[in-house]
Symmetry: C2
Subunit: 414 residues, 2 copies
Amino acid sequence: MNHGEWIRSEFRKMSEDLGFLFTPREEIDNRLARVRASMRKKEIEALLVVQKMDYYYLSGTTQDALLFVPLEGLPLLLVRRELERAKVESPIDNVVAMKSMRDFPLLIKNHYGRLPGNLGLELDVLPVKDYFRYQELFSSTQFVDSSPIFRDVRKIKSPFEVGLTRMAGNIAKRLYVDARSILKEGMTEIEFGSLLDAVAKRYGHEGLLRVRSLNYEAYSWHVVSGLTGGIVSQSDSPMGGLGLSPAFPVGASRKVIKAHEPILLDMGICYHGYQADQTRMYSIGEMPRKFINAYNACKEIHDAVLEDVRPGADTEALFLKTLILAEKLGYKDSYLGPPGLQTRFIGHGIGLELNELPFLAQGHSTPLEEGMVFAIEPKIVFPGEGGVGLENTLVVTLNGYEILTPTENTIFEV
Amino acid sequence: MNHGEWIRSEFRKMSEDLGFLFTPREEIDNRLARVRASMRKKEIEALLVVQKMDYYYLSGTTQDALLFVPLEGLPLLLVRRELERAKVESPIDNVVAMKSMRDFPLLIKNHYGRLPGNLGLELDVLPVKDYFRYQELFSSTQFVDSSPIFRDVRKIKSPFEVGLTRMAGNIAKRLYVDARSILKEGMTEIEFGSLLDAVAKRYGHEGLLRVRSLNYEAYSWHVVSGLTGGIVSQSDSPMGGLGLSPAFPVGASRKVIKAHEPILLDMGICYHGYQADQTRMYSIGEMPRKFINAYNACKEIHDAVLEDVRPGADTEALFLKTLILAEKLGYKDSYLGPPGLQTRFIGHGIGLELNELPFLAQGHSTPLEEGMVFAIEPKIVFPGEGGVGLENTLVVTLNGYEILTPTENTIFEV
């Protein structure tokens, strides 16, 4: 049988039967309209969308492709691999094969009538070598950075996107409940983390989390216990954990989990690309009072942020409020990391990537808007001893917020 | 306790007790010497190493950092996070904190005496936005692409690196033996794959595989069964599988695994960053004769490549030999993918990344050298029915090769 025939005749039904949701045409049209409004304001004639999450957002497919979006006229999806599958997955009408980058200008001319005078590219992630290649191919086109458009448009989630994030949060809830029976004294952190990962995948988690960064890799199994919860590592986070080797120095390690230690489980869940981030504490038997108190402080800080979450609230003010509260509660030197290593954010936008807008952070003053989705994660870290925290993902609603990670806010003692 | 004190006093012993191997100074010195020989030939005064696997290779740490390597003089590791940990992990003597990119030129001047006249950057991965920032900061420095140096130097593995890959291959062997008892009729592909992933992590697998690419993500759980083995997806590989959603359209899916289907398990294992890639076939009860025959053809092609593997053998000739053999065996139209979608490589270099040199591929003619490590992976694909294959990772030795994935080359019928 021919591959294309099989895809055209069998693929859609089979994949839908197995849980695939395809992005509806109306959803894509709305996103395109918002991107175009921003292009018009910035006087950008066309975008060439090169990064996978950006073109997934605008086309519904993550096949290896480039998406050309003119301000006036129809978008064109140029597919390297695999064409027939992209045609099924994407509501974009104009989908063509691109065998070689050499063909690219001609394909644009055939579709758009000319090469655009200026062209937006995501310069925050596009490799320099590719940029030089585009400069050769479009020698009279001016290139501009389109990444602010994507960051800006993608920060407001549609009901469809919130729905997928809610699904991710519900998977997280089932997982965190199951975690109570998976956790056993004597397991290593990575055993616990990888069993959780397997359960999460059974519930629909896609395994990989995505971060918009050259070097910052996301992973699921962020499990720290006792003193590994006091270790800072390569990421801009209050605690990195020990990890597995110098090549992977974050998250779960081969440390054995003991009774009465604070065990912090910070796992992101991904469903159809949409991520929900969540942290809860576990312990085998009761954890020492010091950590319970610190957890309660995190809970108080978490609740104090929630109190103010609504459209119009200032993101930097929310962060600064937590600094003051943490100091008042006696955690000035351990809030969000040890002295000298304290991070300067209490929340991060989340969606197709882990580091989206808005940031509830020092130096990031912006009003919250309806449809913003972010995680808030107060954490308290004691080097050489351990760390605690609480994290939820929420969406800003007309009058306040909705929690998308509905797991009970408590220490799970097993 | 202070975080730095804890790292300086406890971290090394704790992490070594939990399985961390730190890259020896001599190993780093040898790698630096090889990189510098290449810099001298290309008249590059200094490198600024920006990509995590490149600076892990030359410094032994993956903390968030930049590595400055002058042709003459000592390297300097500039660490964003976390400084004390980088100092323990890396044999590099000059390790400093870098709070902000603004401090960067001054730190270089203090260390090197001046800003270099030219500076190599990995332009194949460096984002354009960062490049513009470096141009601002080093306004009289000329920038050149250092990625060919890294690709070239890293393609020859040291005994230390081969040792880590051998460890990865041994983990793969234990995993593939265990897979026989994990596999059960009625499991979904993702259940099987995620349980394998959990077992692999217990044996030392680090979970993430790395690819040098903007959009190409690696993952472990490449499990396809029956007709999902006939589906091509976003990657340059003979079969992509169905995957879990349009956001993650590769590898294991929610398809239920049935008796008598060809089940292909293509999993990479990563140990201290070094990856071994391996494919074996499984079936529950016997698989149809068509697939057994195709597997035997893959085995014959695999063995025919091995026959010729030794220093001096031409990589393109090895590929072309397999094309001829596949045609002779009757698989012209299904070898390495369905018609129109057939890939044009039989092997890919592997190490810290899945897509290293050499490529045993059409248009890639180069002599094999001692110390090259690559995977060979003949595969045969029938759209709508399934796919089969065999894959091993090997190192080229003085007189031939050593297989680094010593799992038995057979169909595992359970």
